[in-house]
Symmetry: D2
Subunit: 448 residues, 4 copies
């Protein structure tokens, strides 16, 4: 899923980039990286990247390397892939016009064709990332100005992308014409600009939200120019990803002018209206289901209760499987509120239902703890299609709703009932007039 950030025109650029990546850690914690350059860097572009959490990667020693008043950063979501190559971002490269570095949130659907053509023409690839395609395309462009080279590259690729590209003195920000992945601009009070996947990082940076990057827009940040230059590269055809609202974004982010928390609360309300149930309490799966559960409780009048407690100390599973401890992975993270739920009829709210295995364990855990009934309500429509625009959904074979009817899923979960948010209610909840990308729900792969 990934997060990108760019800081321009602040002497603490790398530090601010780390803070922003830290706030966007929920979008990926396989690896993180930062490239710095600009004034104060002695003309030297430097990239630090490694596997793990932001808080562990950027220690004092490494921060000393990241000089300059410009920085771009990236969090990478864990995906199954080759461990042999260094698939972390940014990708920094020396090209015919100098050093550049690039970060990318999204997914290029024609990556294999482009890569194969580039390889055919003699390019070599040192990573498995589609982002490497873009650098090759930029380097091969015959244009003179970097902005035009980038435009040449963008003309070749298809898919979802939010790019930030950094040279030794400029930053280029580009969002695809559908605006599938979010990308927002903030003004930092201590100086300069921040561009980030989510607005939730602005508060920590003491930055003020300015606006979203427009679909199809390129922004060029140049030293000594107060406002970034805006170039509308492509006619906008806005299809922001509905999944950001459902699951991916942090509740304190605003996307396309809509607050994610409030949007989820509305989803919960609509879920209650369409799928009422006679119950004693509404229980969220923490933390993902909390906002929708609040809405469900309000609309239905059934009390909201923290019937499941989340343990925040979970790291890697450290104890070897033992016969004495079953379902340990889920139970180490979630604990039932036994005294509260015993003999009670529960409406359990989660934000989505993908494979169904964790949900099944939650139902069992609650019933083992004495719940009389467990009614599962999902604050999203059935996920029947894999996403290809930058969200890591599993293959169709693993998507439970692609392979079972609602009733079959309910039986699999051993829940007393199961209902989903309708696609209409999802769209209404987001509530602005755009043609949302609903690809996981309706299979309409509109970027071709």
């Amino acid at each position: 899923m990934c997060a990108v950030v760019g800081i321009f025109g602040n002497t603490d650029a790398a530090k601010l980039a780390v803070a922003a990546l830290f706030q966007m850690q929920h979008r990926g914690h396989e690896s993180s990286g930062i490239t710095s350059s600009g004034e104060g860097s002695d003309g030297k572009m430097v990239t630090v990247k490694d596997g793990g959490f932001v808080r562990d990667i950027f220690d004092k020693e490494r921060m000393l390397l990241l000089k300059g008043d410009m920085a771009i950063g990236h969090n990478r979501y864990s995906t199954a892939g080759s461990e042999s190559l260094f698939d972390a971002q940014p990708i920094q490269a020396r090209c015919n016009f100098g050093d550049i570095s690039i970060v990318h949130n999204g997914n290029l659907i024609n990556k294999d064709e482009v890569r194969n053509q580039l390889i055919e023409d003699g390019s070599i690839f040192q990573t498995n990332m589609d982002t490497e395609n873009v650098i090759h395309l930029i380097a091969k462009s015959k244009q003179v100005r970097l902005r035009d080279k980038i435009k040449d590259a963008l003309d070749v690729i298809k898919g979802a992308y939010s790019f930030i590209i950094q040279s030794n003195d400029k930053q280029y920000v580009i969002r695809d014409k559908h605006g599938i992945r979010p990308l927002s601009i903030g003004k930092i009070k201590s100086g300069g600009w921040v561009i980030a996947s989510e607005t939730c990082c602005f508060d920590l940076l003491d930055a003020e939200f300015v606006r979203d990057v427009r679909p199809g827009e390129m922004l060029v940040f140049t030293k000594d120019v107060i406002e970034p230059e805006s170039i509308q590269l492509y006619e906008p055809d806005f299809h922001p990803c509905a999944f950001e609202f459902v699951y991916l974004a942090r509740p304190d982010s605003d996307i396309a002018g809509v607050n994610v928390y409030q949007c989820r609360e509305t989803m919960g309300r609509k879920l209650a209206l369409a799928n009422p149930v006679d119950a004693d309490m509404v229980v969220p799966v923490p933390d993902s289901g909390v906002a929708a559960a609040l809405g469900y409780a309000r609309e239905s009048g059934v009390p909201f209760e923290l019937g499941i407690i989340r343990n925040h100390y979970v790291g890697r599973t450290f104890i070897e499987p033992s016969q004495a401890i079953r379902d340990m992975k889920v139970k180490m993270k979630l604990s039932p509120q036994r005294s509260l739920i015993k003999g009670k009829k529960l409406v359990v709210i989660d934000d989505s239902l993908v494979r169904g295995t964790t949900s099944k364990r939650i139902v069992k855990m609650l019933k083992d703890a004495g719940a009389a009934e467990v009614h599962f309500r999902v604050a999203a429509p059935e996920i029947k299609f894999p996403d290809v625009y930058g969200i890591d959904t599993p293959t169709k074979e693993e998507l439970i709703s692609a392979n079972m009817t609602k009733d079959e899923v309910c039986a699999f979960l051993e829940a007393d009932s199961l209902e989903y948010l309708s696609i209409e209610d999802l769209v209404d909840s987001i509530g602005c007039s755009e043609n949302y990308s609903l690809v996981s729900f309706d299979g309409n792969y509109f970027v071709k």
Copy 2:
């Protein structure tokens, strides 16, 4: 504050102890340790202890050392103290009757007198922990049976204590006559017993709650004896610590038959009844204020909203202070829900107010984010006295309510109003007839 656990009669004893310590990590993460012995240990008592989180300390290699069907474990709360001695528990020692190991939750108020007398008599101390006193006293007893030696030692010490003491074939569990710190017994489905500071760990161990250890009771677990032997060492004079309900325990624990989550919800309700305010929303300080905020919202009819979002990836602060990022420590952990709270009147609920510095930063953060009014409500009475029975409250100089009136504190916080739960409402909320230890609130140091 610390947590203790004992596992008796399960071949996975050490693994289960780790799981229990993991669930009780909120009671302390300065250091953790486990001692194992019993059948399967080749007669060898082994202790592993180290600084840090449970998940990091007990790796595969170390778990291999912890053999046997008995184990005791301890989480230690971070306290200011000498770094030169190894102040982690369990303390294992070779005595005249063999090896023992001990874990302790509580605080001995006559520790200095006892230690000085022991030192006077020629004992040496290798740690700064009052627990070391107890081993010396046991070793010096002229009694024959270990249980009688332990009784001799207990007759000397005063204060709050939940001890678990392990020999090569028995486990002794003792709770002081006031039952100040909690201690509960569970039966593990895969075999044997668990004794733990909090019942919240029972679910992960697949253990069933049996009962609390009684004030003044000693339990002796012996191999091949089905039920532990119970010895009432002292006349009970039950004064469980009210602070466990207010702050310390996990919401999914039951203490003295009372569910902590529900107790906190009631505190919130009583706080609302006594201190109503005209507001747009009730906002908990996450996660500590959530249960009380739910109660407050229900009683007052003011909507409950997650107006502050908590970042769960916080580790050590990794970036050096930078002019560009003020109040970073709080802001990295808590973010305001800007869109939600802008122009709104908020009732902010927290579980307690100790030094006041973090609360002040929260008020400022919410006002900076546009809140029209911030009314602070504390789901506990004013903390005017240091605790001496095992809770790490700061000195009187640092307790804001020991040095300022309510109005002065309100001005310090720059809040629009400030109210606390009354002592009566606190006692009513817990709702059972015991004489609670309210020492932090009323200064009644009843153990002398």
Copy 3:
């Protein structure tokens, strides 16, 4: 300086490669890496590389990733350079003909021209290593067979190189026509072949020396073909590097049929013959000067004594500079044999004299310990020119003999006398009829 190894046709390929890199650690310990592929790898080429020592990099978990019956490996010598890019080898890349990986020992003198031309043509570079040029050149070749593509690439580059290139089913080994850097072939008793920079690793692998790779030769190892195919790509013009004998190679290696240890012993003898001195003992700088000191002692009749003891536990310097400990860096590594040398006239033998700073500290240390006289003898000629063929000598400014006469250097060292091996004696010591590369001594940069 670097070391390369290739293992072909052994199911333990990666393990054997680690063992060989371990034996060649003296050629570089900035970083190490291994690429594995071939039968047993599920068609997946995997590279593991990291900074540090071989013993630390290749842990159990990483070894599990390195499957297959072919492996190439590399040790990198520490050089000043950008820390921002991942300058470790092997470099693995996806090309138009599939995956390849490459390791390189040597230095390409036209690397900048080649790189600039490639960049001009739109190639991008993700490392600072000249080796990356070669992959680009191979990928751009219009030839059909990989061996021909490699030949195309070799036709462009100039300099010193020992390459091992691995595809998914073949290994290509190439040594430049001058055979500047050593490269030898061994037959592994448990199966398959080893190619390595130095023969000193053969014993650990239970491999038998077969022969050196010939200057200008390419070897192609193919599955199911018993002997590698040999292709003489270029007319040999053998100029092996004399510096390997002087300093670089391990004493138990044979290069061009000459044993390094015996060669150094001869250098010491010739040094004694040409530069006798009236002394009480011959003292080697350990371990580099030991073999030459043995020869000097034998020829001169002056007794050989370990007058300087080396501490083998040295790691990174761990204590901050303190006024109390001067010259700590040298003194932690080397200690004078005070009782032995007190009042004695010493001939101190080292293998070479580059900057002179360490030698100066050694002379001081010996005099402080009571030596009556210190006569410095260097078992190599004066180093007046930077090497450009793969040995990391400093710039001309830092080479003491490029800037001072012998007498001036002697005064700088505060030695009682100073003598070097003559170039003629060096050549005679190596003793075979080749035109040695003496570039550091005579400045004859024969590869142009």
Copy 4:
């Protein structure tokens, strides 16, 4: 075997202690520790100790804790024992007269009796180290002055000991009346004193050797008193350990006025005189056999050659056993000089022969590499008895010479001949008139 160091009266006390421990790393690298106190420590005695190498334990952060102008330190030799208790030194304890800390090199032969008596009397033990006995005895003494308390404790214990004991303002140094383990005094040029197990650390500290601590002597270092006070506690009965000369000490140390390196050289000469052999070269097992081999070569006229090369990068064995690599553990450390020894008759010299397994592998390695004959010569007598005075020799069952005749051992090694140094020649080599402790050779356990 262990090493101790004390620094008194230098503001860099802890740093100097680290440097000294580093120089004495050969005496033990299981764990190391330092206690600091004195002026500049704010009256706070602090101990840092951990497992591993000196260079890794004492990082910057830990050094900051070690304040004050007095420090004692300890390196612990790896011994088989319980991993459950923290068996590292110094042992710091709070006693009735204040804090003390103690380090110990040696072994107390009546430790079990003393410990059992102490335990009987109610003392508890938190380690497995005999050193803990001493603190208990000191603490129990009824004397007033610490020096008298220490004397009381010494009157109880028997065995070999070099102690350094530190209070908050004094350092007490004691060597047993037999002076079994070495202990020397140096004057630090930058101020204050160093006491250390071996003089080899003095050079790095810029300290001048003053004299050895006398057998039965106590030295008391007191602030503002220029020279330490010397108290002869016991009548000297000097039996220094011959094994220090044979194996344990670093060659650049002087013990009892004898230089270890020169002593070993003499042993080699005497070995040659008594056991000549017709051979082509004398080959030391590096590094332990080098000095004796030099002597053997000189006396015999057979040339000294480095026929075995040692790899200094060995750490933990990192690769799992593989069929392809036999005897890897020895072969990773030692490599044969194949070209040099092929077809040659070798005299191989090692410093001692304990279990015989490594020697057997060395003989095999040399024969595999083509040696025509391997004559093994040991520069020590046959080790037939376990040491009990502080050297970690294996049990009698494992000592090959306790269980086999010389001829049987020779057959086991598959050597062509085997000879040892005689006890008489050993004593003559050391060459001073003391009654050396020869316990491993003659079984004369003189301390009873």
